[in-house]
Amino acid sequence: MQVQVKLFAFFREGRFIKEDKELPTGTTAGQVVDDLNIDREEVGVLMLNSRHCKFETVLQEGDIYAIFPVIGGG
């Protein structure tokens, strides 16, 4: 299945901003994080199609998946 993965802030360093990835059916949000060599501890927010999701969430064909480190502002 195809999923668009987007990275933000320092997660982009040495990786990418946005990439369409071919993933096996049943891939979870957490597995994509692991495959990118991102430490789960550094992850602040995961969003699937503009809604928050968890490491355990199973991705679906056509999803847009965004991975953010711990950030803040205001």
């Binding site: 933000f8 969003m47 502002g73």
Partner: protein
């Protein structure tokens, strides 16, 4: 040196130094400005008339070495909202005032002639001087000239042309350590200073120092506190990308108000994002991290240079960038930085003014995305006070009324900032119930709803949002009294050592024994004091509502509407 109240009467040009009344002694910052406004300003007075008072107060810890304690509060009845107002800012003035021994500066009355004045505060008192040279000048010229007249160590509070003309979006500028300016931004306090005919206030602390009751305990607590701040990952991201790191995440969440609040995502988000800003700053030899006051360990500010490597702006914040960017659909960060600089110079709130431009674009006065026309209007109309300049300079609601626009994003006349309340519902409760009109900083539910700091809450659900906003508004009122930057809250929400260390510092500074409950009670009592002032000024629960269009127009991508009932909103005050 013991803290005193410095009082200036602009009607008869007299000054006095008074002992601190016992009931004001435990207050600082916002708690003190709001307590004084509630005690001395008639709630029904005209905000620009002789009965309003302009109060400046450093926080309880300002002037000490406590990390991030350099916030200054200013308070009055707001000419924009008609409510009580407290606005706070970094810069060097809070520390200067505290070292002068000034717990609060109260400016009252109004000159009966057309003369302009300046004030000079030293530990010995206040001098009032007639001012001519700087009238009509912008803030950067004021700071430069005042430094030449006194020294580059001098603290400066000043107003630009918009404050002189008493526009209700006018702010008060605060000199920062690099002789640039920060802003007491919201609610039109620059117009109040203009109504008192004061162009600038110079602050000369001489060799003044604040007294610490127990220095050893103070130092130990500060060490713990500073460590909690610097090790929190949010602090580290703020130092790299500034608060503008939020553009992309709020856009991704579908809560980035775009094209005058007609949709929740902006096509040009990447071009105006914190990530892009960081790269441009580094490329052009600017500084990605920079502190707005000595002692800041978070360093969320930055120096943003133009293409030629010359200084363009600093303190380039997410909400300002959002307002000029997504809300006016401008995707050019250099144009946005140029506008930020112009607004700093003429002394006008970059949130209120840019949201007013968004409404003006909808009203057909200029086209969405036309940055050059925005810049022209700022320079030719707002700075010079033409009729159009005054309509925009009086804020978003003023533009909506004048040009017949219905979609006007304000609460109590104050522009709603950078987070759409239909897609991020908790912040809508803060906008509706804040004692000061729409203001994200009053109870920053975004931390929990979007950023996952201090727990989590579903931004599209109403559940738990009133309680979340209430708890944060109470905590914020207390933090705003300490002189602490609100960005300590991220560490405070996550690190159990942070808040106790903050309380230990207050106890060591004053030789008192406050507990966490005392601090919560302080926050509650400040909110109630402010709310009572507003009720006495004629506001009711029916003013605690969002504009109707939020209920009628679903916002993409979630197609969410604002669906809180009035009764649900009103439970906010059940404490």
């Amino acid at each position: 040196m013991a803290d005193k109240i410095f009082r200036v009467n602009m009607t008869n040009l007299s000054t006095s130094i008074e002992d601190v009344p016992a009931e004001w002694a435990g207050h600082g910052g916002r708690g003190l400005t709001s307590t004084i406004v509630a005690a001395e300003v008639p709630p029904t007075c005209h905000p620009l008339g002789p009965n309003n008072k302009l109060i400046f107060a450093p926080g309880l810890l300002s002037g000490t070495v406590a990390a991030n304690s350099g916030r200054l509060s200013a308070g009055a009845k707001s000419p924009l909202t008609g409510t009580i107002k407290e606005s706070n800012s970094g810069g060097t003035s809070a520390q200067r005032l505290a070292k002068i021994g000034c717990k609060a500066l109260i400016i009252e009355g109004q000159p009966e002639n057309d003369s302009w004045y300046s004030l000079l505060l030293t530990p010995d008192g206040v001098t009032i001087t007639t001012e001519e040279e700087l009238i009509g000048k912008g803030n950067f010229a004021v700071v430069e000239t005042v430094e030449k007249r006194f020294s580059d160590k001098i603290g400066v509070l000043s107003i630009g042309q918009s404050g002189e003309m008493q526009m209700t979006a006018a702010n008060i500028s605060v000199k920062d350590p690099d002789s640039h300016v920060r802003s007491l931004g919201r609610g039109g306090l620059g117009a109040v200073m203009g109504s008192k005919k004061i162009k600038f206030i110079a602050l000369d602390a001489g060799g003044g120092k604040v007294e610490i009751a127990d220095m050893d305990a103070f130092r130990a607590a500060n060490k713990t506190f500073a460590k909690a701040l610097v090790t929190h990952p949010v602090s580290q991201a703020l130092a790299t990308y500034g608060s503008n790191v939020l553009v992309n995440i709020i856009n991704e969440a579908g809560g980035l108000p775009t094209k005058n609040f007609t949709t929740g995502q902006f096509e040009g988000h990447e071009q105006i994002s914190g990530e892009t800003m960081h790269d441009l700053i580094v490329e052009r030899g600017g500084k990605p991290k920079h502190g707005c006051h000595t002692g800041c360990v978070i360093q969320c500010s930055q120096i943003y240079n133009d293409l030629k490597g010359n200084y363009l702006t600093s303190g380039f914040e997410y909400e300002s960038i959002w307002a000029m960017g997504a809300d006016c659909t401008i995707d050019n960060l250099d144009k946005i930085a140029e506008m930020d600089h112009i607004m700093d110079d003429i002394g006008i709130d970059s949130i209120e003014t840019a949201v007013a431009f968004g409404v003006a674009m909808e009203g057909g006065i200029l086209k969405f995305g036309d940055a050059d026309e925005m810049i022209r209007i700022m320079k030719e109309d707002i700075a010079k006070g033409t009729a159009l300049g005054r309509v925009i300079g009086n804020g978003a609601a003023s533009v909506g009324r004048t040009y017949g626009v219905i979609r006007v994003p304000v609460v109590k006349n104050q522009a709603i900032p950078a987070y759409d309340p239909r897609a991020i519902k908790g912040i809508g409760i803060t906008y509706a119930t804040s004692t000061q009109g729409a203001d994200h900083t009053m109870g920053y539910t975004i931390a929990t709803e979007i950023l996952g700091v201090g727990g989590s809450a579903d931004p599209l659900s109403k559940e738990g949002q009133v309680e979340l906003s209430r708890n944060l508004q109470i905590a914020t009122a207390a933090i705003d009294s300490t002189g602490m930057c609100l960005f300590i809250a991220f560490a405070a929400l996550d690190d159990g050592a942070c808040l106790p260390a903050l309380i230990d510092m207050i106890n060591a500074r004053y030789g008192v024994a406050l507990t966490a409950d005392d601090v919560t009670n302080l926050g509650m009592s400040i909110l109630k004091t402010e709310h009572e002032f507003n009720l006495a000024a004629g506001f009711t629960n029916l003013d605690d509502r969002l504009p109707e269009f939020f209920e009628l127009e679903p916002v993409a991508p979630h197609n969410a509407v604002w669906d809180f009932t009035g009764e649900e909103i009103d439970t906010f005050w059940d404490f």
